[in-house]
């Protein structure tokens, strides 16, 4: 567990520098993740989580600082090998799938882009792995439900078996039973292939289940770091993480949550 797979130093992101809309989104953050580790990032909506992931994936150009993937310093332009080492599951599966490409094409695309064969042979297996029928390869993105599209996005990120997976709300559109299947699949892959996962989610139950360590982000900086046990026992070291955990319904046992509706202020 000692080899460092992701290392980020002083990552800083400013959008629209010099304009009235200038926005300093990520403020000199540093962190690392060891090989085989699952590191979570939680935080307020709009605090910069997706931006951090996009920088690591090589999809953002407004950053400064250092990013090392598998021990290699990477820049804004990535080589094929560098791109292959980290794959991302986007928060908006719709936006990340070409509307006029059939699902089969979307899944074969990573292989073609990397110039490693056609990729078509792997399509059926990739679909069934995420619980979708193989004939979905013939469909267009708009012909799928929200959760089906999200599963296609996950299947695509897994196509090249990358050592690093950047997961941005990967199961937010899935019912908990499909979510359980997808999370189990990711854990199996992580354990078999010693994958390193960076997971962004608003669902603290998912974070608690998956992550070895969690960073709590607020307004562009990390304000707290929690271990699995911290989450389990509700221990926090910063006011904001305390608020986050208090506001979550995690404390409610599912079967009597309805009765607690009144308590939460929603009673009629």
């Amino acid at each position: 567990m000692s080899e460092t797979m992701i290392e980020v130093r002083d990552l800083d992101v400013v959008f629209d520098r010099g304009s009235p809309q200038e926005n300093h989104v990520v403020r000199s953050v540093s962190f690392q993740a060891a090989k085989g580790e699952t590191l979570g990032i939680v935080g307020e909506s709009g605090c910069g989580k997706s931006t951090v992931l996009r920088c690591i994936a090589g999809l953002e150009s407004h950053w400064s600082g250092e990013i090392h993937l598998a021990g290699r310093l990477v820049g804004k332009e990535r080589s094929r090998d560098e791109l292959k080492s980290a794959q991302m599951v986007f928060q908006d599966p719709y936006g990340s799938l070409h509307p006029r490409h059939r699902i089969g094409m979307a899944l074969a695309e990573p292989h073609r882009a990397m110039g490693i064969g056609e990729g078509w042979n792997a399509v059926a297996g990739a679909l069934t792995q995420v619980g979708l029928p193989a004939d979905f390869a013939n469909r267009f993105p708009h012909e799928l439900s929200g959760g089906q599209r999200q599963r296609v996005a996950i299947a695509r990120a897994l196509m090249l078996s990358p050592p690093i997976l950047l997961l941005d709300e990967p199961t937010s559109a899935l019912d908990v039973s499909v979510q359980a299947e997808v999370l189990n699949l990711m854990c199996d892959l992580r354990d078999e292939r010693t994958l390193t996962l960076l997971l962004v989610s608003h669902d603290l139950a998912v974070i608690g289940h998956m992550c070895d360590r969690v960073l709590v982000m607020k307004e562009g900086v990390f304000v707290d770091e929690l271990t699995k046990d911290d989450i389990r026992f509700g221990r926090t070291h910063h006011e904001y993480s305390a608020t986050l955990f208090e506001a979550s319904l995690l404390g409610d046992d599912a079967p009597d949550a309805m009765a607690r509706g009144a308590e939460a202020g929603f009673g009629s």
Binding site: S45, G95, S145, Q179, K228, P255, A257
Partner: protein
């Protein structure tokens, strides 16, 4: 036509939707009588929740065949409304908060112009009045730094911000019926709470009805008075409390929820063959 105070807002009987090239019904015999209430729908991914919502709005593609014994909104029979009537209902009297917010927003209009345009269309607010209304709605959904965000395009805002922009736009006209399809999946718990409060206020103040579609069973259970559980196009169970759940799918769902206080190595999953055998 005036509607008595306690008449249902929406009545649906026997709604079936079939997509071309598919032999199975995406929605199969959907029934719902909705009053002034918060009604939740949970269910399997692909079970027809969004399709049912879009059918009510008459927003399904041409490849969808829709049949229903009855679909009434207030005094109107929805299938008999002309497209022009539907356009005047949409957004003003019935609002649909879509599952893919950033995709549903207009990519070439700034956030501010988009919400202001809705204010013009539904409330007749022009120019500065429209922008003021937009600003007000955006701060209601807890957008920070509203003036900066008003000038951003949809691809420049975060996932959760997109969701809130969509909600701001849809609640603007205080519609009688709100169908919210996963409206809070990209929101952190504290912002989520605010947004739910806003939806709740709308329902109370305007005697509206709310259909909340979500995978977050804990949230739906805490927020809604009734919950429908959908599986393979059908409502398999109608609940007022999760502890009454009888259907094996619902029970499976509850068991599959991760709970960090009781860590497990693998999450329990549904035995789909058992469910197959049942249906």
């Amino acid at each position: 036509m005036t509607v008595p105070e306690h008449a249902p807002i929406l009545t649906i009987e026997g709604l079936d939707v079939t997509f071309r090239r598919s032999t199975v019904k995406a929605v199969d015999g959907f029934n719902l009588t909705l009053g002034r209430e918060r009604f939740g729908i949970v269910g399997e991914s692909g079970s027809g929740k969004s399709t049912a919502g879009r059918a009510i709005m008459r927003l399904l593609p041409k490849s969808a065949r829709i049949e229903a014994k009855e679909m009434r909104f207030g005094g109107r029979s929805l299938p008999e409304c002309s497209e022009k009537e539907m356009r005047s209902l949409r957004g003003r009297e019935i609002a649909l908060i879509m599952q893919d917010p950033r995709y549903s927003l207009n990519p070439v209009l700034t956030v501010g112009n988009q919400v202001a345009e809705a204010a013009l269309l539904h409330l007749g607010l022009k120019g500065k009045a429209g922008r003021d209304k937009a600003r007000e709605m955006l701060s209601h959904v807890r957008i920070r730094d509203v003036d900066r965000v008003m000038d951003l395009y949809p691809h420049q805002i975060s996932g959760g911000m997109g969701q809130r922009v969509m909600i701001a736009m849809m609640l603007l006209a205080k519609p009688r019926l709100v169908i919210a399809d996963e409206p809070t999946s990209a929101l952190d718990v504290s912002v989520r709470h605010e947004v739910l409060k806003l939806l709740d206020e709308l329902v109370r103040e305007n005697n509206s009805g709310l259909i909340l579609i979500s995978h977050d069973i804990r949230m739906v259970a805490a927020f809604c008075e009734r919950i429908a559980v959908m599986y393979k196009g059908r409502i398999v169970e109608m609940l007022t409390s999760l502890s009454d759940a009888r259907h094996p799918y619902t029970k499976g769902l509850i068991a599959a929820m991760p709970d960090p206080r009781h860590p497990v190595r693998r999450l329990s999953t549904l035995d789909r063959s058992v469910l197959e055998a049942l249906s």
